[in-house]
Amino acid sequence: MDISLINLIPLLMAASTPILLAGLGELVVEKSGVLNLGVEGMMITGAITGFMAAVATGSPTLGFLGGAAGGAVLALVFGVLTQGLMSNQVATGLALTLFSLGLSALLGQSFVGLKPPVTPELHIPVLSDIPVLGPMLFEHDGMVYFSLVALAAVWAFLRYSRPGLILRAVGENHAAAHALGYKVTRIRIFAILFGGAMAGLGGAYLSLVRVPQWTEGMTAGAGWIALALVVFAAWRPFPLLIGAYLFGGITVLQLNMQAAGVNVPVELLSMSPYLVTILVLVVMSAAGAAAGAPGSLGRAFHASR
């Protein structure tokens, strides 16, 4: 068997980046007390708007910005509906996903079969020359590093900054936060926009780097995995990273083992991330009432109440 970590780690990191980005966005959204089930929809929208922007301008960077913008616009629709018009968050999120699958297919009609500009790999000077570790960790495209930096930033923001504390307060108890004078709805809209932009980036990563082309429905459920990851990680950034790499890693590992001609029970490996998720959920609920879930998650807020 010639599977080495040097081969596997870079593939794993690339395969996990879309769900990591989208999961990170959703984590912030849920921390603010909003449950947006439209991640899959925002991802697929980001995949096509990012692809369109990259093809039109020839610049992958503008492509990723386009993806983030596409996801954010859709998130804004969700924000206006759920925060402004007080619609049900679960139903609105699901509707958003169904709507986006259709919308992206429509937008993408004339982009099928086109090739996006190549996203360059950034070889970090000095570090990428380290034997073994260099090619494993330091020869990726910019988005992989971006996702890790964003992860650290979100962690620091939520843990150490005052706005992060306010965001968490809004998510834990919106009535109390409101009583203290914080603008609950406005803060949540910002969180939702951030979540949409991150999901859009994740989608754009799929269509610009990982596949790289546009095909209808190409996210194929990645958004749902990102949603599950947030619960798996108990709403904390670093477990989210572990979860994302575990999901991505097992997928890549089972494909690599098959490619290497190792006789493995494929079904068992494909199943294992889900088994681990269930296990984590069981352990979490045993450890005490859905440890870590924001107190106001999914509940509508109106200042008059």
Binding site: A15, Q109, K115, P212, T215, A259, V266
Partner: protein, 351 residues
């Protein structure tokens, strides 16, 4: 005078057109997947062009295999479809059940093996195409490792793997085949990851039995040779796409719908290959040396003129037990239900 004649003819045409044949199509993927579903859809469009107002199309794309398909086909039958083409293997049991409920509606199921009084099945002998592609793959590989992205462990896919391996081995005795099962027809990201995994393992020619162009897009990035699957995928020629297996469904659809119009439709089990034009071989790319083109053409011609069958003995099963004696040709029954690898293919078929 001329005007009144034209009017009369117009009226006659209108009378004929008053009751168009309603034709339903169910697709497993989106109609612009660039592969399998798109080709069925394009054949449906040709059918419409051929018959004009005499047919009315009802199409439904991205229908998952399972209960959803049953709902979609029931709905088509209830809205007056005369004939329904279900274009994916996984619809087989649903077609069987809906066909039993609507005895007056004709059902046609692609690539399956069940049938009934109002339930015909049709398929193409893709393994003939795979024989040509396998020959090319065996000659083009430099690492002596070829890869196969397999979707589901169904006879059609297993035939493809076996045919590819047998013919690669004929031209390159050292060749190995690496099969990766994806358990999906359509997941571009997974197809891309699997292609990359095969490349990492030193595989340099990869055949895909999934529906998107993602494997070719990936090989364009990371190197290696591939083939168009279901569609020509000529936008990836001359590299990485070497040739392709093209599905040509339009003539069959026209023939069957005509039969419905004439009232002569009968259940049938149709299985056509390169000779009848149901399997098309895409143009050989200039990345192939002349001798490879010549050899591939030779294999193709011998299949077309009937002098050669891709499953001709001596062939053993994977575990070494004899399957076909020297010169013996596999019968269609065994091929239709094929559930074993031939000797030399490694790995297990998942259930």
């Amino acid at each position: 005078m001329a005007t009144s004649l034209a009017l009369a003819m117009g009226a006659a045409t209108a009378a004929l057109a008053a009751d168009p044949v309603k034709v339903g199509f169910v697709y497993v993927g989106p109609v612009n997947d660039g592969g399998w579903s798109q080709h069925h859809h394009e054949a449906a469009v040709k059918l419409k062009e051929h018959f004009g107002d005499q047919v009315e199309l009802i199409e439904q794309e991205s229908v998952p295999e399972g209960p959803d398909a049953e709902r979609v086909m029931t709905q088509m039958a209830l809205t007056g479809a005369d004939i329904i083409f279900a274009t994916s293997f996984g619809y087989m049991d649903q077609v069987e059940s809906v066909a039993a409920k609507f005895p007056n509606v004709k059902f046609e199921h692609a690539t399956g093996f069940k049938s009934g009084p109002n339930f015909a099945n049709y398929s193409a002998r893709f393994y003939e195409g795979r024989a040509v592609m396998g020959t090319i793959a065996g000659m083009m590989t430099e690492t002596n490792k070829i890869g196969y992205l397999a979707s589901f462990p169904i006879p059609e896919v297993i035939r493809g793997i076996n045919s590819t391996y047998i013919h690669a081995k004929k031209v390159n005795p050292d060749v190995e085949i690496r099969v990766v099962w994806l358990n999906t027809w359509y997941d571009p990201a997974k197809e891309a990851d699997a292609t990359q995994a095969l490349r990492e393992q030193g595989v340099d020619v990869i055949l895909a039995h999934t529906d998107s162009t993602a494997p070719l897009a990936t090989m364009e990035k990371v190197g290696g040779y591939g083939f168009g699957q279901a569609a020509d995928m000529a936008q990836y020629a001359p590299k990485p796409r070497l040739s392709s297996i093209i599905d040509e469904w339009a003539p069959y659809y026209e023939e069957r719908v005509q039969a419905v119009m004439d009232g002569t439709w009968e259940t049938a089990m149709t299985w056509s290959g390169i000779k009848d034009g149901m399997v098309g071989i895409g143009e050989f790319s200039d990345a192939m040396p002349e001798e490879v083109k010549a050899k591939a053409t030779e294999v193709m011609n011998s299949i077309v003129d009937g002098s050669y069958h891709p499953f001709t003995g001596p062939l053993n099963k994977q575990d070494g037990t004899p399957w076909l004696a020297d010169g013996e040709v596999a019968d269609d029954g065994t091929l239709a239900g094929m559930s074993f690898y031939v000797e030399g293919v490694t790995g297990d078929i998942p259930n």
